[in-house]
Amino acid sequence: MSIAKLTWINVTKDLRLEWRSRDVFNSMMFFALVVVVVFSFSFEKEDSRPVMGGLIWIAFLFSTTMALNQSWARELRNGVLDAYRVSPAPAEALFLGKCLGNFILVMLLECLMAPLFVVFYNLSTVGPLWQLLLVAVLGTWALVVNGTFFAAMSIRTRNRELMLPLLLLPISLPAVISMVGGTTQVLSGEGSPAVQLKFLAGFCVIFTTACFLLFDTVLNAE
């Protein structure tokens, strides 16, 4: 079977599992909602625009972490991960499948949460909207690709779920900084996020490559 076919099988399997149980998605959704509501009480509506970029990404970053932990924890039950390791299917297909599955999940969450941000913070963009979409897509991919990799790493440690944020947050900090900066610039219309977009694109390329090169090693680390 080709890598594309195997990847597709992994993606559909993950999404079907999620569709049937909706464990992860419901908790992600609820968590993001609580963050939005709590912050809407904590800030004055009038001056929230400069902090909105940070706020939006905090909500998505932490809900993504929830999804990432679950995506590998699921494979530990019944020794599914061990079965993967002995199967002749390339590890890259498994990794890409997981990444795409998580990416779809997080993008869906972002689409559903966007109206809530508009309602709670009376939000509108001053800069062009397509730039915001681009920041969202690139930023989400940066988070998801690193996150899937480090989740695979952290389930191999003793304190599984605790380890993921400790590894993921420092690695993704450059991306988070430019995501927040880019979002704030589009929302406030002050300056163009071109530098941030280039930086994010570069970050995605570099780290996606690194993840693909090292995933096999991490999966089979003994």
Partner: protein, 283 residues
């Protein structure tokens, strides 16, 4: 032979460091605008050089480990990460002490150079935590993979000074902004601290090898810099109004040396524990 060589090198480092510090504190010309406080430069920049070099060696050792799976490379990676974190801690503590005097603020939140250095420190602390908490068999491989990722951040840190507008003074070596006599003394200090870093690294490496040999997986690998971070609260007792500028200089030097000494004490303590353990095992 090895022990003799080690002590000879240690003695050499002591003399060299004393000479470098004397040059930095006494011989170097006083800077026009910042006065004596500028002398923190002679511990801050060398510490950064050593820290970054250590992280570079860590990356090379990790790649080599992934390739050849040699236990020595793994020990070298663990050593350089820890020593690098100690030197990076010195950079992060002496920097704000100087900045408090020069800029009037400890930290400049949106300064890429400061943020990226802090990021680097966080990355290698998380690396050390990873080494501690991973399950025995897989530590080396996972840590090596993480080290490759962490090092991808180093070029960003290095270039941040050139790409982004920052408050941090630009690189000055070889430019006309730096007085030749200052540059000369900076080089002396850089070399002295590189020797010092090598010395600590050597010491720590031998310990790591011993630990590997007696397979003491339960030995705690605490982040070396953590002890030094206790010095931070002391900084808040200083505010620019009623503190003589020279205090910043002393604070910087004390903080730097406090961290180095604390780390050496930590290593001594660890060595004593290792020896005890080796004796119990009859190794």
């Amino acid at each position: 032979m090895k022990t003799k060589l080690f002590f000879a090198f240690a003695a050499f480092c002591c003399v060299f460091l004393a000479y470098g510090t004397y040059q930095g504190l006494v011989v170097a010309p006083t800077e026009e605008t910042m006065g004596n406080v500028q002398r923190i430069f002679y511990v801050h920049v060398p510490a950064a050089t050593v820290g970054f070099s250590m992280f570079f060696v860590n990356f090379l050792a990790s790649v080599f480990y992934l390739w050849k799976r040699s236990a020595k490379a793994d020990a070298l990676a663990a050593t350089t990460a820890e020593v690098g974190v100690v030197f990076c801690t010195v950079v992060l503590i002496t920097g704000p002490i100087w900045a408090r005097y020069a800029w009037g603020t400890w930290w400049s939140t949106w300064d890429m150079r400061l943020n990226t250095t802090l990021m680097l420190w966080l990355l290698y602390v998380s690396y050390l935590m990873m080494r501690r908490s991973s399950t025995a068999g897989s530590t080396s491989v996972l840590a090596a993979a993480l080290a490759v990722f962490a090092f991808l951040d180093v070029p960003i840190v290095y270039m941040a000074n050139r790409w982004f507008k920052t408050h941090h003074p630009p690189p000055m070596i070889g430019t006309s902004n730096l007085d030749p006599s200052m540059q000369h003394i900076l080089f002396i200090n850089m070399l002295a601290f590189l020797c010092f870093g090598l010395l600590i690294g050597w010491f720590r490496y031998e310990m790591e090898r011993t630990a590997q040999k007696i397979d003491a997986a339960h030995i705690q690998r605490a982040a070396g810099g953590a002890a030094g971070m206790m010095l931070i609260p002391a900084m808040f007792f200083m505010s620019p109004g009623h503190v003589a500028p020279i205090s910043y200089l002393w604070a910087g030097y004390l903080a730097a040396w406090g961290i180095y000494v604390a780390y050496l004490l930590f290593l001594m303590n660890k060595l004593a524990r290792l020896k005890k353990e080796a004796a119990e095992l009859g190794a």
